[in-house]
């Protein structure tokens, strides 16, 4: 069962993964942006790790809210408000819940995607994190309608997330700092798409192991 302890543990895993990969995220951002996506995300998730102890005894929704507010005040780049929106939207969808299930996760993903679209005034195909979020959620939905086992569906969704990142290499950036580069952004993967893959891998693993 995915209870608050599991969620806190997963947020710790997400934080460690982001911190470990911060150089890779910086490198991606160096190619098409301002080389700080890794630094910003590392700063944010180090802060998240440092406050996880304070969430003891808090409900799942409160844990997500605390993560969102912490990212909001510590990240510094565009990824701050965007990932803050993700976790705040997650929090909205699991109010008063003691555990998370597949249906709730679907709602969380939908709410997060709508939130990112609104916050970033963006959509699929703009070379942003949405090019990972959307195919991931769409795959989960279509596998569900085919009756696929949830754990297997999550595996396929993670594949779709990776494909989404690969797709981001092939298109021109029209949002964010990379949009100043126009055609020159082709060939490089989007840093926000890359960090989203890392986060979705950890969330998927949580549900697969859950």
């Amino acid at each position: 069962m995915i209870n608050r302890e599991t969620v806190v543990k997963t947020i710790e895993v997400i934080s460690d993964t982001i911190i470990e990969n911060s150089e890779m995220l910086n490198d991606l951002d160096r190619a098409i942006g301002d080389a700080d996506h890794g630094i910003n995300m590392k700063r944010g998730f180090e802060k998240v790790k440092s406050i996880l102890d304070d969430t003891q005894g808090k409900a799942i929704s409160e844990v997500f809210k605390t993560v969102g507010m912490t990212l909001l005040t510590s990240v510094g780049g565009a990824s701050g408000p965007l990932y803050a929106t993700v976790f705040l939207k997650f929090a909205d969808q699991c109010k008063d819940m003691d555990s998370l299930d597949a249906a709730t996760y679907e709602n969380m993903l939908n709410a997060a995607i709508e939130g990112i679209k609104k916050r970033g005034k963006s959509d699929a195909g703009c070379k942003t994190m949405l090019d990972v979020w959307i195919p991931y959620a769409d795959t989960l939905k279509s596998e569900k309608s085919l009756g696929t086992d949830f754990s297997i569906a999550l595996g396929k969704s993670v594949e779709a997330a990776h494909d989404g990142f690969e797709y981001s290499k092939t298109i021109v950036a029209t949002k964010g700092r990379a949009s100043y580069l126009g055609e020159r952004s082709i060939g490089h993967g989007d840093p926000g798409a890359a960090s989203t893959v890392l986060i979705l891998e950890s969330l998927s693993a949580m549900f697969q192991e859950g």
């Binding site: 700080d36 700063r43 005040t73 510094g76 780049g77 565009a78 408000p81 803050a84 916050r119 700092r177």
Partner: protein, 130 residues
């Protein structure tokens, strides 16, 4: 008086604009520089922007000027978080941050309304330099 919040990725840019305005409208001090992250690095800080808005708001409205990218997102996030507190008439103006801030502060300093201050920023956007 209408308040002004300057949101830049760089603390130096925000402070520098404030300095420039000090010359143009020396008696106008309902303006605050929100540059950089909470640690003073390059970036923007929604929580800092929220505090800035509260600081310069006397009920006549606040105009926010932003530089690039996430400055807009951070300002919008700050506005959303402030919605719960009942603050209203806080507007993100669509104009260049340096010229817009100069126009806006001169206008605000003579007691212009919120709409007039926003219009002053619009004027700056259409200003031809050569």
């Amino acid at each position: 008086m209408v308040g002004i919040v300057l949101v830049s990725h760089s603390p130096k840019i925000a402070e520098g604009i404030l300095e420039l305005i000090g010359q143009m409208a020396p008696d106008y001090n309902q303006i605050v520089a929100c540059g950089g992250t909470a640690e003073g690095d390059i970036g923007t800080d929604p929580a800092g922007i929220m505090e800035g808005i509260k600081k310069v708001n006397d009920g006549q409205g606040v105009v926010i000027l932003v530089d690039i990218g996430s400055a807009i997102m951070s300002a919008e996030m700050a506005l959303e978080l402030l919605e719960d507190t009942g603050l209203s008439d806080i507007i993100i103006a669509d104009g260049p941050i340096v010229e817009g801030a100069l126009n806006a502060s001169v206008s605000a300093s003579i007691g212009a309304s919120l709409n007039d201050v926003i219009a002053a920023v619009d004027d700056a956007r259409n200003l031809s330099k050569l």
